[in-house]
Symmetry: D2
Subunit: 247 residues, 4 copies
């Protein structure tokens, strides 16, 4: 196996994923950057973990910029559009001017109804004709791909033919982000106010973040997270009380 494929991958939605490609620094990188301010060195794991908690509690966020994670991501265009609004990160995306599109479209498992109160939201469990929606959606998306292929076959430039494709088309990109910006991403995108589809990416990021920077993630749960997410709320509730940490 190549080293690449040994890196953790989290599947998201029906055909998407986030895969950790590389990382630098981790929890220790945060500690080292913070300690330079005080002219000191690490005094052991306990003290380091407390330092990370202290930094987040008091919004001293620059040390978290010295630890980075690099991801290979696959997400529908309408999700990527929300994602790319996060400007403090590096992006390189597949070009559909250069590469021909394949049959990679997001097909939702369940259609959600329009939220009546929150004009920007949706509601699970609405009484929708799922089968009919699936049918008309699939037919339209299939037609788009077919039209695309015909236009390509007729000699049309890829950059023009792709204009017919819907925003549920999957795209791929590399995303390099520091821990500060990643926490902001998780805070905004794993929250219940975000569209359900990008929430799933927010949760996938949270999972990899927890694996790779466990102290920072725990401190983020305690001091940085103000959102609404069932899974994250459960993780947070399961944390040992702060006094135990302080000992």
């Amino acid at each position: 196996m190549s080293p690449e494929t040994t890196q953790p991958t989290v599947k998201v939605l029906d055909k998407g994923f986030v895969r950790l490609v590389d990382m630098m620094g981790g929890d220790q990188g945060v500690v080292d950057a913070a300690r330079v301010s005080y002219g000191g060195r690490s005094k052991g794991a306990d003290s380091d973990k407390k330092l990370i908690s202290y930094l987040l509690k008091h919004s001293h966020l620059t040390p978290f910029e010295h630890s980075l994670l690099k991801f290979h991501c696959r997400a529908p265009i309408f999700v990527a559009r929300q994602w790319f609004r996060h400007r403090f990160a590096a992006y390189n995306e597949i070009s559909f001017r250069y590469t021909e599109v394949k049959d990679d479209f997001y097909m939702p498992e369940k259609w959600r109804g329009q939220d009546k109160k929150n004009k920007q939201g949706s509601m699970a469990g609405a009484d929708l004709d799922q089968e009919m929606l699936n049918g008309m959606f699939k037919k339209q998306v299939d037609g788009a791909l077919e039209t695309y292929k015909k236009m390509i076959a007729m000699g049309t430039a890829r950059e023009m033919a792709r204009m017919v494709l819907p925003v549920n088309l999957y795209t791929e990109f590399y995303w390099t982000v520091n821990a500060r910006s990643l926490m902001n991403f998780v805070a905004l995108r794993a929250d219940a106010h975000a569209q359900w589809e990008i929430q799933k990416y927010g949760e996938a990021m949270a999972k990899l973040f927890r694996e790779k920077m466990p102290w920072t993630y725990e401190a983020f749960l305690r001091h940085g997270w103000r959102g609404d997410n069932e899974g994250i709320a459960a993780e947070r509730a399961a944390l040992p009380p702060l006094e135990a940490v302080a000992k």
Copy 2:
């Protein structure tokens, strides 16, 4: 007339536009910011214009960050996706989670063929069946809007129904950008290597930029522009020789 409508608007493509909403600083703002470095004040228009030219010639770019322009823009999603890669600017975009989509799709006047040499490019004048392409494209786009409307009528959340819509859908956004970042936008997007559609936005920006910051624009033509664009090349060729400027 409201003050808003008196601001210059440039139409782009079939239904797009860029409209200057507000600005700060202009050429004088660049001069003032640069002069603070030297503890001096303006010595008249001639001297100020030369200073701007000097700054760009020697890549002293920070003074250009003190002058800003704010635009209201309307562009197809596939253009907006390229646009939003420019991270040193402020964006606020219409939300299709909140707002229902109208019948605003980009319909190209002329289909371009795939460039054989440049895998990322297109060629005008290819021998394509324009009528047939128009027909199949329009049919597919019309079908997408119809499906969208039906899904909405069935109670589907807007944020989900919009997944069926193609990337030639027009979107709108406010864009606030400083002159340094705007020059970078024009340099990359008005260039012949950019997709033809965003080139038109690059040219529209160049036009408003020239109107509102004429000294900076002229200096940009002389020292900052390295691209390939017929109209801009003609403007550049029409500039008085540098010796004349120096006098």
Copy 3:
């Protein structure tokens, strides 16, 4: 009077100041940028003010990037060093490689003692020999300027001679910042944990911000400010209750 001198200036410390040079957008600019997301227009002052409050309460911060303020600032080097850590802003500073330094040094009114608990802090009212401290400080600073002048007179390059000058030397710069970044500056620098000297600049900024963007400032007091500052706490306490606002 030139338009420049009519702009509000706030004196800070013994010889410093912040002067508003220009601005764009103001409260209305925030509202307009936010409304583009919803495809709507302003519905009057009351509704606009509530929108700003809503945006800050829910940390929708991008609309605040479309309104900017430009300041001419004069501050000691040790203050400027803290200031320039704020990266989301434009800076142009006087060059002491180019310009000869004048007799502009910060002389504190009152020396503060080392805080015993907070290793990074100071305490007013410590029992220090103020007169003796003033004397030895002034003597040393005067000596530095004298040495500088001699070195210049001997033909030394300005960029080298200035190495002898202490960090209480005043510097000047232009600072262009959007309202989002300005709120962050005030939140961090007007807070009691910041060094007293930069707190004074934070308060001066707060004063100009309140004058020029009163709705945003009020919403910031309610929803964005979590710091510790007597004057700002008093302003906040004097705000009408939220229910009154909601009516």
Copy 4:
């Protein structure tokens, strides 16, 4: 030996250094990020090296944001002030509010004269009384440290006592920077128009950059470097001709 001390360190000036602490990506990280755009994988070292050269030649700079280097740096304050103007990087610096200053001041080997033509520059080889300059400079700097120590001994807060210290005091910081931003740093700071002292840091960075990202560095020499620096010019002249590379 700890892994840390095995990392390459370059001494700069009399008491400064830059030490590589960590890195991510390297040349391969650039290639991988670029290849995602084309939906392809590496085709061997030759092809990868050419890709890097192509990217820089055509100013496709985003792939270089996916490779980062982290440095521990020690530089005089007047150098750090120029350095921190580079905003697209992470910084954490020693705090002289928290930590007592030691006897770490930059003492130049040779004083340079004021450049008569370039008001911002200096000239080596000017006929200056080096001994006298050294004497008066050292006396003043020693006096500053002595005053500082006395003020501390009298109970003055560190954050105030340090105001007496000159800008040749050494400071330390962690600097995490991506390869794109690092190239910009080297381009501006290793250039002959920069102050000689920061040029030495620019050259040290160039040395570590060359060691750790040799393909990117070579491509930077060919396509990105437009400055004036004897050592770098020699390196550039020693590169094999481009045709040889193309084969």
